[in-house]
Amino acid sequence: MGQFEPKIVGFLCNWCSYAGADLAGTSRMQYPPNIRPIRVMCSGSVDSAYILRALLAGADGVLVGGCHPGDCHYVSGNYKARRRITILKEIMKALGLEDERVRIRWISASEGKRYADTVSRMTSDMRELGPNPVARLWWT
């Protein structure tokens, strides 16, 4: 086996980040294949339970992608998501989990590059961080 390849689950909002990922595709921007994107209607519809489930099931990182502040298709979903994740990070810290494993990023439909960069960056960070300890805990 070569280097550790982290698994990242991505929740991408339909209107901006998912479209940004598309643009990365049509522009053939290359990034590591570690992300497993899941389309949601809005970053505000991502329940913390999904994120926790991903971490417990063995994901090494979770990315939530939403529209830029002020651009949410549903007015304010992204603000709600941001608040929720801030709290979630606190809980993660309390549990002894590295809170960098969960990230929320604003990626618009025209920011294919930003999407590709975000995924590359997150992949290398997670590689450095090593496997998600909670997942290992649950395996043994």
Binding site: C16, A21, A24, G25, R28, R53, D71, H73, G77, A109
Partner: protein, 1012 residues
């Protein structure tokens, strides 16, 4: 009665044309959307972000585009797109035109082209790319816009003996022999929306565009900034691709320019456009060490929130504005840096060096306007734009032909969108009897109920030519799919999108009794509508489809790692299958519509929208607070252009009062509004002619809010203490009184921005500069000897109004600028009225003794706006004006469905602008009124009553007021018709009673499990 055709042709596929098409299709008309370019989207698709909110143009444009593209479903099948086509001939008259359209050959069969790009590798010729504004090259075979998959061939440069591209094209999509095609269409009305071009920068030789590589145009700079542009969004300059650290913008290049023929008008959008570019440059990653200077004459921030934006640029972002006309740009041949020579406001000659110079080019009528206009038989104005009527701004000189957007004069996006809906309203009124006659509803086989069946999933994996198959080992994906639970059928296709494969797919669904379908192919955004259609045609609910995007999110982005890409594709399919096993059919809810409108406000906006709705065949109730209709028009007499307002007002009021479908309630005040879109009940108290108020209750389907705004009574400059001090409206009244004292007046001073653009009201009131010029010219007409001074901060006579500013100056009216920190002072000394102001040019105070002091006062929202906002549950902005759903693209809508906004209630506006907006609001209202029933979204939230504890958290997080807590049962109730399906409430609900259809908790958790 003359024959009428229920179809409309829209010429121009920019944002205006798209909006008009969508509105017309929504309200029951067949639309032919014609564009000369091979793609639609217009200038907006080249912009990076839009001002003043910095919305990404793509996020806001693409949902609209999707409605128009050929994959469009259901109602949008009523828009037929004729892109890459020219108008050849127009015959007939209003109600019944015959238009011949020439479709140019693309030489590539769009349906076959997979966008693989093999052809690009072999094409030998290159020219500057139009889309990238010449910053990079494109081949003879090219993609007109990066968002569009399929190619076209530019025959003008394609060598006739080459044909290399045909050899490498796997799907055989290239047909070099393709011929142009003529189509004849029959329409009842035509809307011209062909947008604008920018000035040919070669005309301003002194700025060196085309000679010095680092002098670029504003649109080129858009491409420089754009993440999808040639420099991937880095601020580089063309000559050496080094970062640009110091950038200058030169404003009014070819605008307000008397030296160039016919270019005396102001292009209206460039002040904000340059401001936006500078802010984005400063806010970018290397922004802190970028210096931005903007050379300008007047900052014209007349739109909603523009002045705040300008303040943000100056005070927060550190963009420096220099009031000066630049004489020339020179290049240092060694460094390719540019030297700008300019005169400072104090009259000193200065020079400064920059890395990059951006020219804010004037907006021109689009090329080819002359010919189109000739074919249509409509008139141009003095500047070569399509002539529009001042009191009916989307009406051209010919009946049945309407105009919207920049082709009738420079305009920004919201104004274009407003006019587009306004033009759609005019066309709809003209053709109201034949509404729905030519639109088709597609017929589908009955839907099989599969909700109780065990899932039988069919998986279709697409190779997409080489696009997926070239990287991903498709057979292995197919193999894995076959091993997954509930999967009963798997198929591999070369090209799933093709007509043939879709027929096969339908057959497979029937033969294997599939009840859930997974397609592994390209992105949801383009493929979902297409395959939903297929699935529906096979007799399944369209939502029993799940897409695994193994192209944009896999094969195209992991081209160098085929093994891992294959594994990822397998997992994406596994995830999609996991969700597919759980998905259920979804249906839109229907709710009936009371086909009647309520209009709040009987001023200009209210009256125009009432007439427009009534002319489209619907009943209207108009509620006016005052005893008479007319609003501000009652105090206005003439326009800047010299048109008589009183006649216009009188004819409007009579039309409204006499209209058989309009009922007017005067002296009435709204008390309560209940219900939701389609069925509202409004109660008001009405006290006609002094009688004691009585309660009236009305039922209606939509609301147009047109409560207006008014001239503020000033608190400063001694107003009210001396009768020689008037507001502009008071002056206008005085000037029209017989025997007006103005004949003897010696010195008149006007002060601009009284109460506007200051701390309390940080917005520009838009109308006051035009009003001041208008009244000053009137005074000059009545009294040629008077000394007239206008003290201003920035003369905001935008668009064609600029010519009146020039006229005023040529007639000896003196304009003196004052600084925002050194406001003029008004003193009353022994009965002498004095005004003192410091002229920034000569840096000395000037003192006037005046006979008449006129204050150009701010426009302020009416006092009871907050009360009304609360009743209607709609927002107001910080300035007290009502806040629309989206500044750029939904300028007359509220986020709350069924309520629309028109006129000065939205923000200060001139007459023509108000009329357009009132018509736009009417059109939006009619898109709802024209249907007996309206449909909800399909992805909405569903409640489980048993789990609901009635805590009400869901209702408080819902941005659409779509959840109510039932008074009796104390349970949450979703008003389906209002729910937009964002899912916020389902996450907020502490007891798990709410679920987002199509994205339920179980579905998502299973997907998560399958992913890791």
């Amino acid at each position: 009665m003359a024959k009428k055709v229920g179809a409309v042709m829209v010429i121009g596929g920019g944002i205006g044309g798209i909006q008009a098409s969508l509105d017309l299709a929504d309200s029951g008309f067949k639309v032919y959307l014609v564009d000369r370019k091979p793609d639609i989207g217009g200038a907006m698709s080249q912009l990076d972000k839009t001002f003043p909110t910095h919305d990404c143009r793509l996020c806001i444009l693409s949902p609209k585009l999707k409605g128009c593209l050929r994959f469009g479903l259901g109602q949008y099948s009523n828009i037929e797109l004729l892109s890459y086509a020219d108008i050849e001939k127009v015959e007939g008259k209003a109600g019944d035109f015959k238009v011949t359209v020439k479709k140019l050959p693309r030489y590539v069969i769009t349906e076959k082209c997979t966008g693989c790009g093999e052809c690009l590798k072999v094409c030998p010729v290159e020219v500057p790319s139009e889309f990238e504004q010449g910053l990079v090259k494109r081949k003879a075979i090219y993609r007109p816009n990066p968002q569009i998959l399929s190619f076209v061939i530019d025959k003008s440069i394609c060598p006739s003996d080459c044909r290399e591209c045909s050899k490498v094209c796997k799907p055989n999509a290239i047909v070099h022999e393709m011929q142009e095609e003529k189509v004849e269409v029959n329409v009842g009305a035509i809307i011209l929306s062909s947008g604008f071009d920018t000035l040919n920068p070669h005309l301003k030789k002194e700025y060196g565009w085309g000679i010095f590589p680092n002098v670029i145009t504003g649109l080129q700079f858009e491409r420089v900034m754009s993440g999808t542009g040639p420099y991937q969004g880095q601020m580089l300059r063309p000559s050496d691709k080094k970062p640009a650290r110091k950038i200058a913008w030169i404003q009014c290049v070819g605008s307000r320019d008397l030296k160039l023929d016919g270019r005396s008008y102001c292009s209206s959008v460039c002040c904000m456009h340059a401001t936006k570019e500078a802010i984005i440059a400063k806010e970018g990653t290397s922004g802190s060490n970028i210096t931005c200077h903007i050379y300008f004459m007047d900052m014209r921030c007349f739109g909603k929130d523009f002045d705040r934006y300008y303040e943000r640029a100056r005070k927060k972002c550190g963009v420096e504005y220099r009031r000066s006309r630049v004489a020339a740009v020179k290049e240092d041949p060694q460094t390719s840096n540019l030297r700008i020579r300019y005169e400072s406001e104090e009259g000193e000659l200065k020079e400064e060096e920059y890395d990059l110079v951006v020219l804010s080019l004037a907006l021109d009528p689009p090329s080819g306007t002359q010919e189109v206009v000739q074919k249509l038989g409509i008139e141009l104005n003095d500047y070569g734009f399509a002539r529009a009527d001042l009191f009916s701004p989307v009406q051209t000189s010919k009946k049945g032909i309407y105009v919207c957007g920049a082709v009738s004069g420079p305009k920004d996006i919201p104004e274009t969108v407003v006019q587009a809906s306004g033009a759609a309203a005019m066309a709809s009124s003209l053709l109201s009897e034949v509404r729905g006659k030519l639109t088709e509803k597609k017929h589908y086989p009955p839907e099989v109920d599969v909700s109780d069946e065990e899932p039988r999933i069919g998986v279709f994996v697409c190779r997409c030519g080489m696009n997926i198959g070239g990287t991903v080992d498709v057979p292995r994906v197919v193999e894995l799919a076959g091993s997954l639970p509930a999967v009963v059928y798997v198929e591999e296709n070369l090209q799933t999108c093709s007509q043939g494969t879709q027929e096969k797919m339908k057959e497979a669904i029937r033969k294997h009794q599939l009840n859930r379908v997974v397609v592994a192919c390209g992105t949801v955004r383009t493929h979902e509508p297409l395959f939903q259609e297929t699935v529906r045609e096979a007799g399944l609910n369209p939502h029993l489809l799940e897409i695994a995007n193994i192209r944009e999110e896999c094969s195209w982005v992991h081209m160098r790692e085929p093994e891992r890409a294959t594994q990822k594709a397998q997992e994406l399919v596994r995830m999609a299958v996991a969700k597919a096993a759980l998905i259920q059919p979804l249906f839109a809810m229907h709710s009936s519509v009371i086909q009647r409108a309520l209009i709040i406000g009987g001023g200009l906006a209210g009256m125009v929208s009432a007439l427009s709705v009534a002319d489209q065949g619907f009943e209207v109730h108009v509620v006016e607070r005052e005893k008479n209709l007319g609003g501000n028009l009652k105090n206005m007499h003439y326009t800047l252009e010299g048109k008589d307002i009183s006649n216009f007002r009188d004819s409007l009021t009579t039309q409204v009062q006499k209209h058989p479908r309009i009922r007017v309630y005067k002296g009435a005040e709204i008390q309560n509004v209940g219900g939701y879109v389609g069925s509202y009940t409004t109660t008001m108290s009405q006290a006609d002619d002094g009688s004691s108020p009585r309660a009236v209750s009305l039922e209606h389907g939509v609301i147009i809010l047109a409560t207006g705004a008014q001239e503020m009574k000033p608190q400063e400059y001694l107003y009210g203490e001396d009768e020689r001090i008037l507001t502009q409206l008071e002056l206008e009244d005085m000037l029209t009184q017989p025997g007006a004292g103005i004949k003897k007046t010696k010195t008149v001073v006007m002060i601009q921005c009284v109460g506007s653009r200051d701390k309390d009201r940080p917005y520009c009131s838009r109308v006051c500069c035009s009003d001041a010029v208008k009244n000053a010219l009137k005074i000059r007409e009545l009294n040629s000897g008077a000394n007239i001074f206008i003290l201003y901060r920035d003369m905001t006579t935008y668009g064609f109004k600029e010519s009146f500013y020039q006229e005023a100056r040529s007639k000896g009216i003196v304009f003196v600028r004052y600084d925002e920190y050194k406001k003029p002072e008004v003193k009353l000394k022994d009965g002498v009225l004095q005004v003192e102001v410091t002229d920034p040019i000569i840096q000395r105070p000037l003192l006037f003794s005046v006979d008449l002091l006129v204050l150009s006062c701010a426009i302020v929202p009416p006092k009871d706006s907050p009360r009304l906002a609360e009743i209607l549950k709609v927002p107001v902005n910080e300035d007290g004006f009502f806040l629309e759903a989206h500044v750029k693209l939904r300028p007359v809508d509220f986020s709350r469905r069924g309520i629309f906004l028109a006129g000065m209630a939205h923000g200060p506006k001139l007459i023509d602008e108000t009329v357009a907006q009132a018509q736009a609001a009417a059109e939006k209202a009619c898109t709802i009124l024209s249907q007996p029933e309206i449909e909800s979204e399909t992805i909405i939230v569903q409640t489980n009553e048993r789990q609901c504890r009635g805590c009400g958290i869901c209702a408080s997080v819902c941005p659409y007021e779509a959840i109510e807590i039932d008074e009796e049962t104390k349970k949450a109730r979703v008003i389906e018709i209002l729910c937009q399906g964002c899912g916020s409430c389902s996450v907020a609900c502490p007891s798990g009673a709410l679920q987002q259809a199509g994205f339920t908790r179980k579905e998502l958790l299973f997907m998560v499990d399958a992913a890791v």
